[in-house]
Amino acid sequence: MKTEFPNTETLHFPKSCLHCEDPPCVPVCPTGASYKRPEDGIVLVDYDKCIGCKYCSWACPYGVREIDEHQKVMKKCTLCVDRIYDATLPEERRKPACVLACPTNARLFGDVHDPDSEVSVAIRENGGYALMPEWGTKPANHYLPRRKQRIKIHTDELVRADNPLKKERAQPKPDIKEPSLDDVTSW
């Protein structure tokens, strides 16, 4: 949908690895460096195995993989796998850095397989959706739609018995001497 002035929407759309349930970036990897962890579903790159051939970045339909030109390995979002299991951090800080940093709390973090988790509830109740489902990648990360709030004012809400104008003689009576029909006719 194309929006045109003045009906313009401005959309900031952050993208990172969606940690697909069925990630096309994994089977294409010739060395097995690109893998999905069975225990929690996080998709990672093993830098010790990666040869930097970039097959995976061609396979990812979301364009979230980038080669590190210095280290010559493929990099992408790790879901801060080092943070989220770091027992030295207080429990509430064991979240991806982007979730903690986001001032608007636009990012939620949790287990999509647990139907009672915050993320599952949000997806279920607020119409969460997956990106490009036609690719069959079944991304774990979902997006929530924009919300719009409107106000409806009924015209009769403008009419009120306690309108403060009434205290000000705001509709003044005409002066008794102003012309009236009495001056021109006697019926």
């Binding site: 900031h12 280290q71 001032p103 608007t104 205290k167």
Partner: protein
């Protein structure tokens, strides 16, 4: 699963971010002496753990190749601007300054001027200037948002951002005008998201839909500079419908006070005063009159049980005709209909009416009642605090126009008639506000306050309450170099930094000797008319002497301004120094009470960098300024941390820069003897002191007895007197009466009488911005404005390797309709031209731009080589600066007089008044931004440029 990364070598230190002016708490991870990672401090009241892209990229500021590391002196014979320097020692640098400044102070202290950028240390810089004895001091406020400060403080006794803001926790409707991003940054983002989740409606009024507006429920595009027309039309509709909070206006504003309507009286337009003797002081005496509805006669305001009229016209027993102030407001807005405003603002009249109804009905029907008992200043007890949940936020989009003061007065009045001031869901103050209208601080009233060898007798900046407060000599000439507080810009409460260089160059009102600039890029993005101002900086008189004899610049980075300095003082970064966000300045207070905070160094200074605070204390001691030297001439303070602990505004007063942990053992706050361990106590408490006021003191503070007496006891204010909202400004009227020759005191010179009479209107009115009035709008049909990018605070980070990934050059954003009309395609090179100059840049189509407006991100373009960027960097060849087409002065008047391109009331720089035209660059023109300047070469002591900044991980450069 375990993956411990926080190795034993990593230390986590708390300090306060300074990647923008919001001052979030940060945890800085330092590994082997290097900054490895910066995260938000979850225990900080402001940001509660969140951080933005800028804050996290502070590492790249710390290790920026732009950094200066040694004091520098311009090479003998080198032109200013050539960037040719030799390194000198600090001792030499201090000796040069000491010698010059001693001479100036002993002869004519006003020949020294100190002007500073967005520094957040105005309490100290201001103290230094005052002690030196010069009136020529100001920070950046005059070219930033002084209209917002002055317009609201002269109306409601408080203002947005540091001093107050929208209560989005309780609001139901939030209207943001002329704000893109920042001011406040993270805290506002946190609040807006919470507000939206709670189901509030967010309306953004702005020519451009960027920044916060992206998540607005409704975007109302408006033509720049016409906000006043919209606001007045909203007031018109609210008054017409009776959608105003009558009780609130009666009790808490001057709306019901009777104004003298006798045209022949010298008191015409002033409030009638009852003969109640009052103590003199800086507050509104409560001796005005109301018209009692029931007994139909005048009574003293706030008399028990009286319900006054807001409308009508009456006669006092002595025959004086009077009207309530609100009546005058209704007369003022009578013709400001939504239809009238539609033509000016481009907003359909029906939309304006609907917006007014949404505001008015939400305020009236969704009243909040909190079970918070409080007592008003007249002694009446209230069981609850009530609020009308409509909140506003506005900033520079309203302010940076020459009609901004009156637009902002109109906003203050709109917020007030909706009954939203310091109430839940509306506007809330932050300590040390509210303050009396106007605040008590005053400048001297004449040149005799400037004396050789003496501190300035008064403040360099203040809040005039009447014409006699102006800072002018007997002939009405300005005493300040920027002509602040003169008849040209009487309420220029933040000064006019944007005119300092031009005035000093022209020698009007006089010549300077030494100009000291701290972290303001007056040769680039912080100046208007950049090309000409750069010439002035290097211009010589007929004797071959520089017109501005000596320029010293203190900055942490090699900016364009640095290249024009005779002496360069390398400042530290925010991670290398002590700082205070003081109650004497602009603290980080919350709605629930005063908050101040500090910075504590997390890494040592780089090279020979020295914090500017230390420079001032050293200079103050060498010059033996009374605040910094003992009577025997020896220094009072070892260094800045020692100064912060031990300095008191009056010896023994117990009031100093920091409010927390005062008293010998840290047991007191706000007021108490110096505490030798104050820094340690801040360090232990996340670098922040937060005092939460009792609930009953948190609202209605303009009129809250408990709060006002608390503030008085804790010396936040001198008077515990009510601060009534100035719907009608008798302060402005006094200037108008002076211009009409009706007063005893100071009167404006002839050539400015008409100007003062016009713009010192006691009620807001709409006029076209001054520059537009003087522009051929057929030729220059478009408005041009700038916005601050989300990822960079103004110009601060076009040197930051990480943030440069987001923007390394800017485009001119144009609505496709407007661009196509000139045959300009998306991505084309094009010209944007005003009557002052022209710039070549690249076009980007944007449907999120009102068709009469073009805009860009400010301050991404750089001079080649500035900030030690690669000479071929995008910033200098694709990026551009719009300042080249904006003037610091209006076209000279018929008598050859130069007036600042500023608001005639406050001197606020009219950045967004410029009118432009656009056209396609011709085939074969260079595909490069214009104008281009000489390439700046690195200066001695600069760190080498590294190619691999992006590979910086955890304190190390990985890879090559």
């Amino acid at each position: 699963m375990n993956a411990p990364v926080t190795s034993a070598r990593t230390e986590i230190k708390q300090t306060t971010c300074y990647m923008c002016a919001c001052r979030c708490g940060i945890n800085v991870h330092v590994r082997e002496g290097k900054v490895a990672y910066i995260e938000g401090n979850p225990d900080h009241p402001l940001n509660k753990g969140v951080i933005c892209a800028k804050g996290a990229s502070g590492i790249m500021k710390q290790y920026s190749p732009a950094r200066l590391t040694r004091p520098l002196r311009r090479k003998q014979g080198a032109e200013r601007g050539a960037n040719e320097f030799e390194a000198i020692s600090w001792e030499e640098a201090f000796a040069i300054l000491e010698e010059r400044l001693k001479k100036i102070r002993a002869t004519d202290p006003k020949r020294f001027a100190l002007f500073t950028g967005r520094d957040q240390m105005q309490a100290l810089t201001g103290l230094f200037a005052k002690q030196f004895g010069t009136p020529n001091y100001a920070a950046h406020g005059g070219f930033c948002s002084v209209n917002m400060a002055a317009g609201l403080i002269y109306t409601i006794g408080g203002s947005f951002w540091e001093f107050g803001g929208p209560d989005l926790e309780r609001a139901k409707l939030f209207v943001m005008i002329g704000t893109a991003e920042d001011h406040h940054s993270n805290p506002l983002k946190i609040a807006i998201s919470r507000f939206k989740r709670q189901g509030g409606k967010f309306i953004s009024i702005n020519p451009v839909r960027t920044g916060y507006s992206a998540i607005a429920d409704e975007w109302v595009p408006i033509k720049p500079g016409t906000d006043g027309a919209l606001l007045l039309a909203l007031i018109h509709e609210l008054v017409k419908q009776g959608l105003y909070d009558r009780d609130f206006l009666v009790k808490y504003s001057n709306a019901a006070q009777l104004v003298n309507m006798d045209m022949n009286s010298t008191e015409y337009g002033m409030f009638v005063r009852a003969e109640v003797p009052v103590e003199e002081g800086c507050f509104d005496p409560q001796n005005k009159l109301w018209w009692d509805r029931h007994v139909d006669k005048a009574v003293v305001t706030h008399s028990d049980g009286v319900d006054p009229r807001l409308m009508g016209e009456f006669k006092l027993p002595d025959g004086t005709p009077v009207k309530p102030a609100f009546q005058l407001l209704t007369e003022r807005v009578k013709n400001y209909t939504p239809e009238w405003a539609e033509d000016i603002t481009g907003i359909p009249a029906d939309t304006i009416r609907r917006l007014a109804h949404e505001m008015g009905v939400t305020a009236r029907d969704q009243k909040i009642e909190l079970p918070v008992a409080w007592t008003d200043i007249w002694g009446k007890d209230h069981e609850t605090v009530t609020g009308n949940p409509v909140a506003f936020h506005a900033m520079r989009g309203l302010a940076a126009h020459s009609n901004g003061f009156h637009s902002i007065r109109a906003l203050g009045i709109l917020m007030s008639i909706l009954g939203t001031i310091d109430r839940p869901g509306g506007f809330r103050h932050k300590a040390p506000f509210p303050r009396p209208i106007p605040p008590c601080a005053k400048t001297p009233r004449g040149p005799e306050a400037v004396q050789p060898g003496k501190p300035l007798d008064g403040m360099a900046l203040g809040w005039p309450a009447d014409p006699d407060d102006l800072f002018v000599d007997k002939e009405n000439n300005p005493v300040r170099i920027d002509k602040g507080f003169s008849w040209e810009y009487p309420l220029s409460v933040h000064g006019l930094m944007h005119n300092v260089i031009t005035n000093a160059w022209r020698g009007d009102p006089y010549k300077l000797d030494t100009l000291l600039i701290f972290m303001a890029n007056m040769a680039w993005n912080s100046t208007m008319n950049t090309v000409e101002v750069r010439k002035m900086l290097n211009d010589k008189d007929d004797n071959g002497e520089f017109r501005i004899p000596f320029i010293a610049v203190c900055d942490a980075f090699q900016s364009e301004m640095v290249s024009y300095a005779d002496l360069v003082l390398p400042d530290t970064t925010y991670l290398e120094r002590y700082d205070v966000m003081s109650m004497l300045d602009r603290p980080i207070s919350e709605y629930d009470g005063p908050v101040d905070s500090v910075r504590i160094p997390v890494v040592p200074p780089t090279g020979e960098c020295k914090p500017f605070q230390e420079v001032l204390i050293e200079l103050g001691s060498r010059l033996k300024l009374p605040a910094f030297a003992k009577p025997d001439g020896t220094r009072k303070f070892k260094d800045y941390p020692d100064f912060i602990i031990n300095y008191e505004i009056e010896p023994g007063s117990g009031i100093g820069f920091l409010a927390g942990w005062r008293g010998k053992g840290g047991e007191k706050f706000m007021k108490g003897e110096p505490n030798p361990n104050q820094w340690e106590m801040y360090a232990k408490n996340n670098c922040v002191f937060h005092y939460e006021l009792p609930k009953s003191f948190q609202y209605m503070r303009n009129w809250n007895k408990g709060y006002l007496e608390w503030a008085q006891r804790h010396r936040l204010t001198r008077y515990a007197e009510p601060i009534l909202i100035h719907i009608y400004s008798d302060i402005l009227q006094q200037f108008r009466l002076a211009a009409q020759g009706k007063t005893q005191g100071k009167q404006p010179p002839k050539h400015l009488r008409h100007r003062i009479e016009t713009y010192f209107d006691p009620l807001p009115f709409y006029y076209e911005p001054l520059e537009s009035q003087l522009t051929d709008k057929q030729k220059y049909p478009l408005n041009a404005v700038t916005q601050r990018p989300m990822a960079m605070y103004h110009s601060w980070d076009s040197q930051n390797a990480w943030l440069r990934q987001i923007h390394s050059h800017n485009f001119l954003y144009v609505n496709p309709l407007t661009a196509r009309a000139q045959g300009i395609e998306d991505g084309d090179w094009m010209w944007v031209e005003s009557m002052w100059g022209k710039v070549r840049c690249m076009c980007r189509y944007s449907e999120a731009t009102e068709p009469g407006t073009v805009w860009t991100w400010n301050a991404i373009g750089k001079q080649s080589g500035a900030w030690n960027l690669e000479p071929g960097a995008n910033e200098s060849h694709k990026g551009f600066l719009l300042n080249h087409v904006i003037s610091e002065e209006l076209p000279p008047t018929a008598d050859g007089e130069y007036l600042s391109n500023s608001d005639p009331v406050t001197g606020q720089a009219g950045w967004y008044d410029v009118r432009v035209r656009i056209y396609r660059a011709a085939e074969g023109e260079p595909q490069e931004s214009y104008p281009q300047f000489n390439e700046l070469k690195p200066v001695p002591g600069q760190l080498p440029r590294k190619r691999s900044w992006l590979a910086y991980v955890g304190g190390k450069i990985v890879g090559n």
